[in-house]
Amino acid sequence: QDVTLRLSHWVPAGIAPASKGIEPWAKAVEDASGGSIAIQLFPAQQLGKAPDHYDMAKQGIVDMAWVNPGYTAGRFPIYALTEVPFMVDDSVQGAKAIHEWYLENGAEAEMSDVKVCFIHPHAPGALHSKEAITSPDQIKGKNIRPAHATMARFVSLLGGGPVQVPAPEVREALSRGTAEAVTFPWGAMYDFKLTGEVPQHLDMPFYMSAQVLVMNLASYDKLSDENKAVIDSHCTPEWSAKVAQGWHDDDMAARDKLIADGEQTLNEPSEADVAAWREASQPLIDEWKESVVAKGGDADAILDAYVKSLEANDAKY
């Protein structure tokens, strides 16, 4: 065994993104290297806080880090397009589409000081609430815990109050009425035991949050050519789809379980509702464009490329 790579992430080791995404990928890399690469996993913020993970990889504190770019508002303006709702309806092909698009359109501008390995979204998440919500005007006056900075803006735009609490405290916030709804992946309903608090679920691809596995450049450069080839062959859009599959399956199983549960209600929005949601989210795209243009990017071309990539991979909502 030649080299040990340290990989840091911030979710508990047992839950789906870790056990059905990161760990199998790490195992695949080890196997493909014939035992020449060992990947040591550090789960649950053992080596740093979730929002610090990008810098931890960039600065060589760890060799690889699993990053949620949505935790650092303003840092990755191009990538923030993946947080805009109602764009993606399939997270597996979507992961591949985002990976292909981002390598061409964004990684060089805003993630050039690391190597992007794979994109790791959950299945499109839903809006879970105490009372049924099907149309955007029902957000007004409600306190909602958003998944990331873009969702926080969306809630504000619709006249709701975004309530910032860390994921493990969401249950408390809901049970105490601090928040009346939450945007979360389906699997989170069981991971965080939320079904008793928010039994109403808006059944549409409401939002997405896509983590990125990044690698320190010096750690990569130090590898032998054979090991570089192993890493390269595992940092592809195809691997992004493969890694995304496990989390997706777990989310979908949770959704099926909710459907089977008589206490839970999945509300399907009408076509008019869907159109209203899309319409309401338009300002998010405008704000996204502004922030990209402010950094000197060609927002229209980047957006166009995103839509094309999603369509080419059959992942456009």
């Binding site: 810098d55 650092t72 508002a73 303003g74 840092r75 303006p77 006056g141 409600k142 306190n143 900075a149 926080a152 803006r153 504000s156 109050g161 975004p162 309530v163 910032q164 009425g177 601090t178 950094k295």
Partner: protein, 182 residues
């Protein structure tokens, strides 16, 4: 504690002002969270960015508080050995301890300067209002610079003036008076 006993009256005054500004910041954060709670529960209207603003402003206050601790010597430390030693040896230990503290503060100031530069160019911002992070990190960094100065000053007071670390307000004099009055 009087300025003459310290031999650094001007510095003492400056530290006093620094502490008061940091203390006021702590007070403001307290009020901000109370207002935010009232807004959220009472009127379903949270204060925008109350979450980010309160934690960032408190961070600045804590950093400036480091300047106070570096000067007054009131860090949490183990005094066991120091108390058992004669004055000269104790002074050597104090000087060593504060030199180590100064070294750590220098490292921290250097590394947080790098963070400041990175935040300035990186565009990190708050969640709601998208206020840039860098002015807060600048505030933190300036607090560290102040801590650098006050820690160095205390090190000088230890080595040149033979002063000890840690100041407590003893009640023995008051107590004796009370007893005499009874």
């Amino acid at each position: 504690m009087t300025p003459d006993r310290n031999g650094a009256g001007g510095a003492l005054k400056t530290v006093h002002i620094i502490e008061r500004i940091a203390g006021v910041m702590l007070g403001l954060v307290t009020v901000l969270i109370v207002i935010s709670a009232i807004g959220r529960y009472g009127f379903a209207r949270p204060v925008p960015d109350a979450f980010d603003l309160s934690r960032l402003v408190l961070g600045v206050a804590i950093a400036w508080g480091l300047a106070s601790l570096g000067f007054h010597g009131t860090h949490i430390k183990v005094d066991l050995l120091a108390h058992a030693l004669p004055a000269a040896a104790r002074r050597a230990i104090n000087a060593l301890a504060w030199a180590v503290l100064l070294g750590f503060t220098i490292l921290l100031t250097w590394k947080i300067w790098e963070r400041l530069v990175s935040a300035f160019y990186g565009g990190d911002a708050t969640m709601d209002l998208r206020l840039p992070h860098w002015p807060f990190i600048l505030g933190i960094w300036l607090g560290l610079v102040a801590a650098l100065i006050t820690t160095a000053l205390r090190l000088w007071l230890i080595t040149a003036r033979g002063q000890d670390l840690g100041e407590y307000d003893g009640i023995d004099e008051q107590l004796e008076q009370d007893l005499r009055l009874k």
